[in-house]
Symmetry: C2
Subunit: 535 residues, 2 copies
């Protein structure tokens, strides 16, 4: 969850306000955002500067705006993504959204903020330069040095070199790939791999990639045209992002190319290319549902080809693997980045980071973005580039660092917990923000389900038990728990054998159904924890 | 769980009888073995042939022997590992263990069984050839074509070629790396990488590798000698396997080299090399405990070096990553197979598999060992080698295949469930075999713990709830559940802040402590499911 506060006296600027999607260990939670209560003691917040539109950089903006009336500066694509998100939050207005200029500095209190366009796996990403009375601070956020970007927008190394000559007090730079040697290849370099994978194939083609990777989509549009295929977008997020990109002139479908999934399914297989959400095998995503033949519109079978054109986020390897196995069982051929050149990272590898360090020659350095091992690898690289131990500070969430021309020192910690948000309901409202008091008030409901792998039977289960959950305002139970048990039973009955065999998918379904039932019936949102026991 | 039954009429031979370690989704379970009830209808089992000593090939042997009085044939190293395991099972005798000859066929009913020594990541692995009236069946099990193995033992390609000339009806071959191009490098090729990682380092060195990789240990002994370091083995399994290997002449420590962990900790850091269990970040393993400073004997700090000389088993990436982060936070340097050449696979890559297919020229082929996507890749390779669709059968657990000189066909399924075993207690007894009836009888206990990431506090939690668990023979509760709550409270109090922040580790501790308490107090073994909620 990227959320950086820069402060001089009582004047602050915030760079990025992200959320994260919880891992399997955060059962019952949909979204995690930073606890922003420390902002109360930060004096005046002159503005929020957003570097790009990925959820881990903008996801917390609605929750921030619900509590703080501050201007939010972002490039057009990023701004439109936030506007879509704000439309779901009735209590938050989009009036505070402002343009982030790229041709002149923006004065926010004592900070003169400049931004440089960078290449990344989403359009209109920016690197931030904060000019302060103490010197210049460069905050790269996510970027890569793609020398031949699809949309022609990349980092101007001349400007970076000029910054270095002018002097950089402090650099904060992207560590995601700091342990990967060499340079990250440019986005265009995978065109050949994608082409080769599709060439000569006469069944349907499904491609999954991250929804916001508009330049990847542009390459796929070219590919579809070359191979005489029409395209359909499957999944809400990919449709939304394509709509925004289209409106801003960042993505263009040739006339007659885009059509509905149903039309493509009804037409000739060798004329169809589906762009599908679900790169991480997320249980409710389009591709995961297609893989177990539970999708409303799209089906795959023998002769079809699925391209996984995306990174495997650590922790998701097993769910991705299971999804691929399901697709293979249906007879589809699956090509991934492991066996073809159809994906490339959006983050800079070690030699790109070295180049940035060499051009900027910062006095002080803080590696950001990445697990501790990547921050640590990036610090090692700074040492290779001649920086001393005193000049590099490794930080984790909540650490405060003080810096001026003479020194950089650790200066204590602020409280930065995690706040869990419940967002899979029909609508999203900032008021459901789930903090400590809220969970304590609505309690916990545990649904224990026993599945027999062989026949899917359930014996005497499911059991639904609760603690601290009072279904009714006057404390009466009114059969809610036994009805909840029936809801789970129905979920199990509706599940296909493949869903029953896939615990992650089954858990997600139980959670969604039970949550919806309890909310409608009791107006309460207990934390719902599905537990699957295999017998 | 590898468990293959070959059958002619009413005569059977079993090849391998493995178990698996459950993933995070099997909370409350320690070991999973195949449901072997289908063996009851298999006629006469003339013997069990074990290919090598990895748990996924031999782990179910004690449970098999508890129900079936059959001879078990294995090479000496494999046999001694099973003997150790059987010593923990009071009711099962080791009398049935037999030598697996490598110089003459073994007649088991209508099967003449021959074995060929192969290189693998454990000593004395064998490939199995079953000569039958219908033709020869080759079952490779796990192997690699290491042309220069550390112990000099590898596959004799001349014998493989002779088998091909003689004729092979059916091949079953290792698919683990079927989607990896090229050849797997030999074990000796990593000596230089290990040497380079250690050379010039003047702090302590810790190396983690799989306990049974005796040839890796031999290379580490050489390395320690070259660098003037003494060695200590940390962790039960590594000590046991080294003891067996030493007794059989497969591993030899030069005089004075091996010492206790305590002696090494007290001595000069640049004279110490620890061999440590815990390659997968398993929460109770030696290295995981060292990483959070909770190990009884070994500590790491600035100036120390940790080498991760092992594969990352899919699904374990996050726990391994977290362990590495902890080690880095303590100031240690960590080198992994991702950034140095210090590990090599024990399985054959695509071109080795191609070679085997080309030399054996089987009439029929069944890919084994691997997820469906690897089996599928191996089937694709067989097609590349000229085999027709009819000649290759993709199978999953429980599938029955019938084969003779004319055809290979699917012939239905047998019931092969999973049986869950509870094995983290003080002793292990086959009678605790946890089948459907057992879980239904002892019930389920769910411990819900809420941890505040910031301060580790617990609010009104933990809560312990149960279903189907009757603590006392006469049904009385006797305060067991509230005492259980106290046990969990104590576990939480004893945990370090780092353990509290690591949910996998915390879950494992809660489970172990609660299990032990409930068993002592109630003589019952309910399924224990720890649920951690972060607030």
């Amino acid at each position: 969850m990227n959320f950086m506060v820069y402060r001089i006296g009582d004047d602050c600027v915030v760079v990025d306000a992200g959320m994260m999607f919880p891992g399997a260990e955060h059962l019952g939670v949909d979204v995690v955002i930073p606890d922003m209560s420390f902002l109360e003691e930060c004096g005046t917040i002159h503005g929020v500067v957003l570097t790009h539109g990925h959820e881990d950089h903008i996801g917390a903006v609605p929750y921030l705006l619900a509590r703080h009336d501050v201007p939010v500066f972002a490039s057009p694509f990023t701004r439109e993504l936030i506007r879509n998100r704000l439309a779901e939050h009735a209590s938050v207005s989009a009036d505070c959204l402002r343009d982030l200029p790229d041709d002149r500095p923006l004065q926010l209190g004592p900070f003169a903020v400049e931004t440089l366009p960078v290449a990344h796996s989403i359009p209109q990403a920016r690197m931030v330069v904060l000019r302060t009375p103490f010197g210049n601070v460069v905050h790269t956020a996510d970027f890569k040095l793609d020398p031949d970007p699809v949309d022609g927008v990349g980092l101007d190394l001349e400007r970076v070199a000029a910054l270095g000559r002018e002097g950089v007090l402090l650099l904060l730079s992207d560590s995601t790939n700091a342990d990967v040697p060499g340079f990250t290849a440019g986005e265009k370099t995978i065109a050949a791999g994608l082409d080769q994978a599709i060439a000569g194939h006469d069944g349907r083609v499904l491609v999954t990639t991250f929804s916001s990777n508009i330049n990847r989509m542009r390459q796929l549009v070219d590919l579809a045209r070359r191979h005489g295929r029409r395209m359909a977008l499957v999944g809400t997020s990919i449709q939304q992002q394509a709509e925004v990109a289209g409106r801003l002139g960042l993505l263009d479908f040739p006339s007659g190319m885009r059509t509905s999934p149903q039309t493509l399914m009804d037409g000739a297989p060798d004329r169809a290319l589906f762009l599908v959400t679900g790169t991480q095998g997320e249980p409710m995503s389009a591709l995961a549902r297609i893989s177990v033949d539970k999708h409303r519109e799209v089906r795959v079978g023998p002769g079809d080809l699925v391209l996984h054109s995306a990174r495997r986020i650590p922790g998701n390897e097993k769910s991705i693997g299971r999804m691929i196995d399901h697709l293979l069982r249906r007879g589809a051929r699956v090509v991934t980045a492991a066996n073809a050149r159809i994906h490339v990272s959006g983050h800079p590898a070690r030699d790109e980071l070295r180049l940035i360090l060499q051009l900027l020659r910062p006095r002080y350095f803080i590696p950001i973005h990445g697990e501790f091992r990547q921050l640590s690898a990036h610090a090692g690289l700074a040492h290779e580039c001649g920086m001393s131990d005193d000049a590099v500070v490794l930080i984790e969430s909540g650490d405060v660092v003080a810096v001026n021309e003479q020194e950089i020192v650790r200066a204590g910690r602020v409280h930065v917990g995690q706040v869990f948000i419940d967002a899979t309901l029909d609508e999203v409202d900032w008021a459901i923000l789930r903090d400590r008091r809220r969970v304590a008030g609505d309690g916990i409901v545990v649904a224990v389900v026993a599945v027999d792998r062989e026949n899917g039977s359930m014996n005497e289960f499911p059991e639904v038990v609760s603690r601290g959950f009072v279904p009714d305002a006057d404390g009466a139970e009114n059969g809610v728990m036994s009805d909840a048990r029936d809801v789970v039973l129905r979920t199990l009955e509706d599940a296909t054998p493949e869903e029953r065999a896939d615990e992650t998918m089954l858990k997600a379904r139980i959670q969604t159904d039970l949550k919806r039932f309890l909310r409608r019936r009791t107006q309460r949102r207990p934390l719902i924890i599905p537990v699957i026991v295999e017998l």
